[in-house]
Symmetry: D3
Subunit: 323 residues, 6 copies
């Protein structure tokens, strides 16, 4: 199928960036069936144990994504020339009920998958990655690349197994993610208990702490990560708190001493060869972001992720078309 | 034509207020031909002589209008039951060229008028009322009710006749507004020159300064205003700086000692019997509004204006349908 | 029992207001059994349907309460000379589970009641008034005076009966509050549905909307309110959104056109003769309060409420001592 | 002496308000000998007992005073046509030493007085009124009109007699102010001790609390105040915390329930007939003023004070010229 | 000519940094003829296509420049000992007219040049570099070193050839800059069109993208830059968005992944040997800078630029004196 | 003595981080005699020569320290398992009198020392290190490791020997610190006078400027620092302005181009082997910290310092117990 030009961002030489309805990347609103890649918001932060606010993330990420442009200046990737990308709105959530929201989000992503759209999502807190994975990963555990200050493999909090510190433990237990094909980059910060990483270690997750990262640098770390992830399907999740809080203060659980945006961009660009079934950018909490910088950063990383996801999606579509 | 229910705001019991694409009042996007009342943004502040920022007004007013509800609790007016209301997007503007923007905005409103949609607009600086009036007022000067700290009937600034201090002088000169059917409420603040109000006085504009307003109260003032405006077509313009800056700090030219929101709401509700051909809410400047209160206030006044405009529009439509 | 001087605020002539651990009013930490009036935080906002943040309310109210002084300048009431007042910490909450939190908050207040301490609480969202009432109102419905922009007598939201729009409907249904001895002051704002107030009207709640309030003034309104409340036990709840958002922008659901602080203070002072079994100040949401004004306002109203509650508590204690 | 036009604010039709060096009211820098009225900053807040920041007041008041215009729209007073007004810079202060600063500020004002310039000053905390009065009031106690939430007649704080709660007690003790010709308007807020006002009452200061003010209104209150002040020399001091903190949040000791700007403007305008020997506007603390509103309010009140001071200065100059 | 000591910053041991009129670096106001280096503001942002605000840059840069000191701690350069430096105020601008402003700014800089003053300017948006160059570069194209996230060599925007994305294309076309002696450092961010850099490449501009910069480091990059610039006259322009937005969030078009201040300072210090005919620091937009950090950063870079410009100016002056 | 478990932070799985009274690290309040390490606030900024605000530092550091956890993820150090740590409140200060405060702070620390508690303090401005050292260093000059943008070895300011630019000159002169065992890391920024560092150089302080630091890196620098400090008693002081202001904007004297948090953490961890008699973290000024990041950073560094201090304290206690 030839691209029609319908799924193009507004041209900032025709419509100024501050004008118009703020969809993601100033793209048209679309149904999942119309697009190859669906930009989606998941405005849910009921899994947050301290500072809520990520429920407002999708809206502010849409707002600041108006600053984005069309063509990646380093890789030359122009996602809108490769695939159809649209804003498919927000997953349905219930701000009062965690259980209902997990259900409705999961169903929404299952529908996306069936419609053939690869989702690039904006959280929401990190718990939303769990129902996303439930919707996407069917019948086979996928690989996972996670940029994060925290492993998010705790067992429970207040006796509750579902919160933003536990999604990937649940995902492993539910067979959605293969811990042997799982890499976490940027972990840091004090821990509540010396055994916090025991589960992750036991099941074989490759955890790359900031101290190791600092020593090796982004390229060497990504060499290893890509090898671990291999050629099978992979999901990518970027918690904005992986970044140094000077670059992303508006988040629920900031940890100083983080990854710089330069390093992060370098790493995300390396992911373009992966077989990505989806990606998300989570934990942007606008009420804690007076300068708006966190949302600008998050929107830029969503564009970087889009450029990483698009080539693979285009290739699969071509393969299908040829089949 | 029966209302179909299509032009309804999202139900906050189904979709939380922080979710979804921020259209005005969470209404559907629509073309002018589809609606009776068109909510429109005019993201232009090229007429500002000091603090710019109102170009970002439409977007933030849309954002905060998600807090609005359906039914007016005092008048019982439920605009969405009376008429079809939709978000018709933003008027086209050129941030670099004042002349081009005046042109394109005017043309946009002429199209709206021809499509039969009554516009309720969000500025932008106050200069945008001029091209709106050019688009709407054809062949007959209309009445004008203006809530404002400033008369905006200066002659020029830097030798330039088009800026946010001059729109109503130009509108009178161009025969768009009848100064004998024109009321300004809330004027105040020091003036640049003792003759600042000479033009307004000479052509018969009824200027109600805050001191007179303070003495008489909103009801008495509106009694007089409604009498002056009479039964002919009227345009309503609400500069957010009419309000006290404690209630609307985010504006380009704040003047202390203004109208309270309680007083303003009381007055706007009195306008429901006017033959309104359109209304606007201007000069909300989000970069100067750290708490977001100004946009909340502006969005609420837009809802009040909508409830003032809707009954007349419904009546005219009925009359046309009956004809 | 003579007051020992132990339950005194820190003297700002000895310890500057910015120094020291921020307890409520700079009072000592205490157990319920040690005090007559317990200042308590309820850091829970799981009942919020839009903008969360009131979970941080108790901490910031404590912080700003350092500005408070000892003696009421109008009534001359000096609460710390009348009764023992201490900071009894926060009610236990579970940020992930609404049901668990309702349970644990209710139990905490039942304990307070059994210990003989009258609670003055800082929310949290308005749902917290429900478990507070469950803890306090045993065996008899109490009267209720509520300052609020919203009636909070909705039936449900997202099909969920427990959220910050429903607490007083539940309280009435559960027999905790007598709707015939219930007054709501400051209601305003558009409504979601023309029938929003049907329940409140049907069961006899006296709702005083801002328009009536504006016409009659605080004294006349309180004359009526006090008559309705009568001489039986009364609970007082002050939602900070009763106030105009210029005076309290940091709240989840701001409504323009509200009560001024001058009016509010005048009304709260009239409550000193009531038989108050407790009071709360809710919905202060610090993440939306960049200037800190909302918390200053909330802390001052807590002091006003304390001066309204203390005389009755002192009288009851004297009566008991005399018995 | 005819006015030369030299002491004119920059014309905002020639130089935009955001341009140029921010002197007070965009006036020329001048020496005291060159002007009739000297606008002066006193960047000292060493007398603050809680939240410092007023040291930055003069700079931010200068910055926001760029919004001011030339002619008073109600009284028609055009100060720059009546007298020579200039920005005479800041009084010298030592941020580390309270004693040195009291000395240097006092000497600076004595010099101003000798040069024949009437000072309109921008604080700084309220303690700065003491050295100002020392410099101005020589050989005769003057009358005082004080707008303030606090009486500032405490005896000491931390055993220190000089701080922002004590200036007017010291001024009375030093014979600078005649307490029988002294009026305080807007007092409110809880007090540290039931005897806080004993000194003020004992020496005959007329204290008008907000509750009395609320009942009588600004005109009635000013009638009485003007009678008390009489025809002798008067100093005027306006603590920005007299205003409601919704209109002036950026101050060290905010008290809710204050005077509105409308009321304040009405009162200051009544002062034009007094024999004013100087005036000040104090306690604007920019670090606590994220929206900048407090400085806008303060700058506007400085213009109102200027219009109150100018006619008397012009009259005295004429009288001297005629003598 | 011996330096008289007249052109000295205020001594912060005599006048605290928060006191006094905020001129650049707390220097005296001066006419161009009085100084060797003129610090100048250009408060114009009419060339901005998205977020305006840089019109307020000069004022806030002056404000924060009060934090600057006298002597460079690394190079030992003490500019005020080498040359006469003063604040020459702001270039005249018309906020409503781009054409008029380009004209008046250009004329102002031509006058500066004729008066023999080398300008160090504070923008304003980047378009202001064009009229500055028109004023300075007469009869010979100069070299250009540009720190920037964007090449600013677009052709037009909205069909308009003059905006903040086009100044250097115009400057090359007008023969003001020699593209062969032009280096751009820090370029990054997605582009609107794959051909965005075609013009720059075609005419030989050396563009050093952040990825190359990251690999080579500031010293190696500057080695090359200095070689390209050679010994002829050079103009230096520093767009604050060259820096990482964590260090300079308050700008119109932030791009993550930028140059750190440490790297920037290292590079600017290398420029001391160039034959600099002027320099500017642009795109500081205070309304988007809640912490004030961007202006502190900008003011510090202005001091660094001053230390880079001063030695050459001193040398030229000596040479002229000797001639 | 076995640890009792009494001196444990609140468990965030039982009490959410936003709940409860904000003591340092959510530890119990304690008297000095009860603990091995005393966390203490020194809310004094009377030594500040420009932007005050650090008086509010202890309160906000306590507030944000609620985000801290128990176990250091790199070193494995779990301070609460090694020693008894409690919040011992604030040192007494007098906000009006510098002399009184120096006295009372010094006495407080002498008491701490006698009680056997090692203090980890939160400032306050940097002058507070002087009275702390007076209290701790008795009879022998100690070594000093100082992270700072400024040497703080000026002689005086405004003729006053006690301010935040002079503490370490005074400490050396008073024999509290041995300049030969003194290292300063992170110095940078322009200087007021070419001789600013003469004293420091003359007495042998090892000053490591940011340029040298940038070249050598944190490990090499710490190798040298540890050698200089040797095995004797050492005091550690961390001025938050040592960090880059992107990571710590809320401070009185920001200097761009600073140490990153990654580098700082790496260095502080190297200090665990020193014989530390105390440590402080100073100059966090909340009024200049709109995002709260500076306090988060400061609280994290306090935890890092705690992990550096605890092993030595534990070892000394063991040695004493064994003796």
């Amino acid at each position: 199928m030839a691209l029609t030009g319908k799924f193009e961002p507004l041209d900032s030489g025709q419509v100024p960036r501050f004008a118009g309805i703020p969809t993601f990347m100033r793209l048209p609103l679309a149904t999942p069936a119309e697009v190859d890649i669906a930009l989606v918001g998941v405005p849910f932060d009921g899994g947050v144990t301290n500072r809520a606010g990520a429920r407002h993330g999708p809206r502010e990420l849409r707002n600041q994504s108006s600053l984005m442009r069309r063509v990646h200046h380093v890789t030359g990737i122009s996602p809108y020339d490769l695939v159809r990308v649209g804003d498919c709105g927000d997953a349905p959530v219930d701000p009062i009920s965690l259980a209902t929201s997990l259900e409705s989000i999961g169903a929404f992503y299952a529908d996306l998958r069936e419609a053939g759209a690869v989702p690039l999502s904006a959280g929401g807190d990190h718990l939303v990655s769990l129902p996303i994975l439930r919707g996407l990963a069917t019948g086979r555990p996928v690989g996972l690349i996670q940029f994060d200050a925290h492993s998010d493999t705790y067992d429970s909090f207040f006796g509750n197994p579902y919160n933003h510190g536990t999604p990937f433990r649940r995902a492993i237990e539910e067979g959605l993610v293969d811990p042997k094909r799982m890499v976490q980059i940027g972990l840091r910060g004090a821990i509540s208990d010396a055994g916090n990483y025991d589960f992750a270690n036991a099941c074989g997750i490759r955890m790359i702490f900031i101290e190791e990262f600092d020593r090796r640098g982004p390229d060497d770390v990504m060499d290893e990560a890509l090898e671990i992830l291999g050629s099978g399907p992979v999901y990518a999740t970027f918690d904005i708190d992986a970044l140094d809080p000077s670059m992303a203060p508006g988040t629920g659980t900031p940890e100083i001493g983080g990854i710089t945006t330069r390093e992060a961009q370098r790493m995300v660009r390396r992911m373009a060869g992966l077989d990505l079934i989806g990606a998300d950018l989570v934990e942007v909490a606008p009420p804690f972001d007076p300068s708006g910088l966190t949302a600008v950063t998050g929107a830029t990383l969503m564009f970087e992720l889009l450029c990483a996801v698009a080539p693979g999606v285009a290739a699969r579509r071509s393969a299908q078309a040829g089949a």
